[in-house]
Symmetry: none
Subunit: 407 residues, 2 copies
Amino acid sequence: MSNNKPRAIVLSVGTELTEGIILNSHLQYLSSCLNRLGFMVIRGIQIPDILGVFKAELGRAAEECSLIIVTGGLGPTSDDLTREAIAEAAGTELVFQQSIWEDLKKRYSGQKIAETNRKQAYIPQGFKILKNPVGSAPGFYGRINKSLIIALPGPPGELEAMYTSGVERLIENLFSLTVEQVLTGTAMLIPESRLEEELQKCPGRSVTWGTRVTDDRIAFYLRGGSEEERKAVFSCLQESFGSLYIRRGDVEPAQLLSRALRSQGLKIALAESCTGGLLGKWLTDLPGSSDIFWGGVTAYSIQAKIDLLGIDNRLVAEYGAVSSETAAAMTEAILKHCQADVGLAVTGIAGPGGGTAQKPVGTVWISFKWGDRKPLCRLFQFHGSRDQIRRKTAVAAFLLAESELKG
Amino acid sequence: MSNNKPRAIVLSVGTELTEGIILNSHLQYLSSCLNRLGFMVIRGIQIPDILGVFKAELGRAAEECSLIIVTGGLGPTSDDLTREAIAEAAGTELVFQQSIWEDLKKRYSGQKIAETNRKQAYIPQGFKILKNPVGSAPGFYGRINKSLIIALPGPPGELEAMYTSGVERLIENLFSLTVEQVLTGTAMLIPESRLEEELQKCPGRSVTWGTRVTDDRIAFYLRGGSEEERKAVFSCLQESFGSLYIRRGDVEPAQLLSRALRSQGLKIALAESCTGGLLGKWLTDLPGSSDIFWGGVTAYSIQAKIDLLGIDNRLVAEYGAVSSETAAAMTEAILKHCQADVGLAVTGIAGPGGGTAQKPVGTVWISFKWGDRKPLCRLFQFHGSRDQIRRKTAVAAFLLAESELKG
C-alpha cells in the first residue's frame, strides 16, 4: 500500500448507526469510490448524534487527511448536527442561504413547509452548496485548515445520486490523481494460508497482494510491478492450484456455471442430497436463471432417492447412499425424468453426525452428466463445519460442471 | 442517551473494508448487541491493515471507553496484524499457546497444516483465549490500561457464533451489568417502521425497546417496567400483527417449523418454485434435519412442474403457474410421490422480471397439505428485491406450516 496516495476519511453520523438499528452502507460505497479515485481511506467511522464526539472526530480527521466526507445529520431535526459541528470545527458561523430556502420551498410546493426546515438553509460561512437532485437536504463543501470537507445527506439514494452527479468530478478536479492498475482474481476451495504460502513463492518481487475472504471464495488483488509481473504471479498461482480453482476477476461459482450454460444455450437439472437445496438456491439467486435452470430433486433421505428419483434400492443397499454408483444413478435419473441438457448430482455426509471410519464427515461424491454421455464422478473430502462442507460441496459441483461444459 | 452507561468502541480491521471491497456488517451486529447489554457505543471504526494506524486507534480507544471489541486481522497471513497491534498497545509480548496449536492441528486433521498457521497460536501475554467453535482462528481478551479488549475473527459466521456462545456472557460477568429483565420477541414479515409505530401505541409507559434487524426477521427487546407491563406490550403487538408474526424469544422460522414437526414425529416434503431450493437449504441448515425433512422437488420451470411433479399442463395453462390451483396441485403431487406426512409448496414471482399487472413481482402462493386433508392455500404480496421476496416467501411458508401443525 503506497503512502504517497492522498488520504481520506469517511465519517457517518447517526445514533441509529451506533445503536445498531441500521446498517451503514456508506462506508463501503464511499470507500470503494475513493479507492478507485486513488485515495487511501485511512479510517471509516460512525458516531452517535453527540456534538462533542462529532467535533473531536472532525478536528482529528482534519489533521490526518486531505479529504473528509461526512454523511448524515443534514435533516431538519434537533439531532441533525452536521452543520453546527462543521461550522464550529472550521471556526466559522452558519449563514442563511436564500437560494437553498427557495429550492426547499419549491420542493415542498403544494405542501406546507415546516418551519424546522429553515434550518436546512444554513451552511457554514465560506462553504459552497452541493445541490441535491433527489431530496430536501443540500450538501456543502469547504475547508477545515488544509482538508477538503464534503457533507452529504444520509439517505443512500440521495447520497449516491449526489456523488455520481457532481461530487466525484469535484474531487477529481480539486485533487490530481493517478489510477492504479490491479489484477483481480478468485481462489476457490483453497485455504487462505495455503494461498498466501504460494503467493510468497511466486516471482514478481514488486507485486503486492490483498485478499478478501468470504464464506465461499477468496478474491485477491495483485498490485504494483508491471502488468507482465502481475500476470506472471497469477499464472504461477494457476500452476500451483490448477486453473479450476484460480480464476480471473472477482467471480462466484454460480455465475461461472450460469455463464457456461448460457453461452451454449443449455439447461441444467439438479439432484441434491446433503446440500438440501443449496445448489438450486445459488443458481436461482441470479435473476433470469430460468434460462439455464430447469429444476431438480432434493433427495435428502434414502427413500427420496428411491421414490422421487427411482433409484434401485439394491444399488443403494450395495454401495451406500454416498458412493460413485449412487451419484451416477442420481444424474442418470434426473436426466431421465426431465428435459434438461445436463445433470448435476451431489451426495455426501455434511455432519456433524453420520460419519464412519470409511466414509468420514465431509465425504462427498459429485456426478455430472451431459446428454447421453457417461456420467463423470468425482470424490471430495472436505473439512469444516456442516455449513462449510455444504458450501464447499456446492462450489466444487459448480466448478466441476463448468469445466466439463467448457471442455 | 444516558451518560452513565459504560462506553464501548467497535474497531474493525481490514484493507478490504477501507477499500470498499466488502461491507462491514460487524459494526451493526456488535453495536446492536452492546446496546442491548446497556453500553453506549461511542464509535464504530474501520481501518486498513496498517500497524501504525491500528496502534493509534487502540491507544485512543483505551482512553475513551471501558470496552473495545476488535474484529478481523486474526488470520494466518502477513496482513493479519491484530495480535501484534494489541500486544504492542498493551505493552506486552506475544506468547505461543500450545493448546491453540493443538486445536489448530486437530481442526486440520488429515490435511497438511501450513507453517504460517503457527502464527495463529500466539496471543498477547496475560491475555486469555476465546475458543472459536467454527473456524481456525481463536479470539482472545485482556486489558489495555483499564479497558477490556476482546479480539474476534472477521468471518461473520465465526464472529457471531463466538459472540453468542460465550462472549456475551463474558461481558455480562466482567462488567457486572445489572442485567435488566428483558422480554425478547421476534417479529417476522413486519417492516421495522410499522413495528416501531405499534410499539409507540402500546401501553406500558415505562417499557422501552430495542431491536436487532436481520435479513429475515427483527428481534426485539422489551425492557423496564414490570413483568406484567412488558407482557402487556408483547400481547398488544400480537393483537396488532397476529400471533403468527410476533413470537416469544429470538427464533428463526426454520427452527419453529422443525420443532413443530419433531414434536409430532412428522416428516415434511417440499415443492419449491420461485425459491429454487431455499426452503430445503434452510431446513437442512439444522443438524439432524433428516428426522423431519424427507426431500423435495424444485419445480422451477413450468415443464418441471409437469414432468417432475406430474401436474396437469391444462391446469397450469388455465390458472397460471402462480395460482392457488397450481400451488394446491404441487402439494397434492409431492405427497403422492413421496412418503412424507405433510407437504409444503410455494410458487411465485421473485422478479425482477416476470411480473404482470394482475400478478406483479412479489405475488406468491403458498400451499400446505397434511395427509389426506384438503390443501390450505394462501396468497401473499411481498415487496423488495428478488432476494428479499424469496426470503419472505420462505419465512411465510414456514410460519404457515408451523401454525397449521400446532392447530
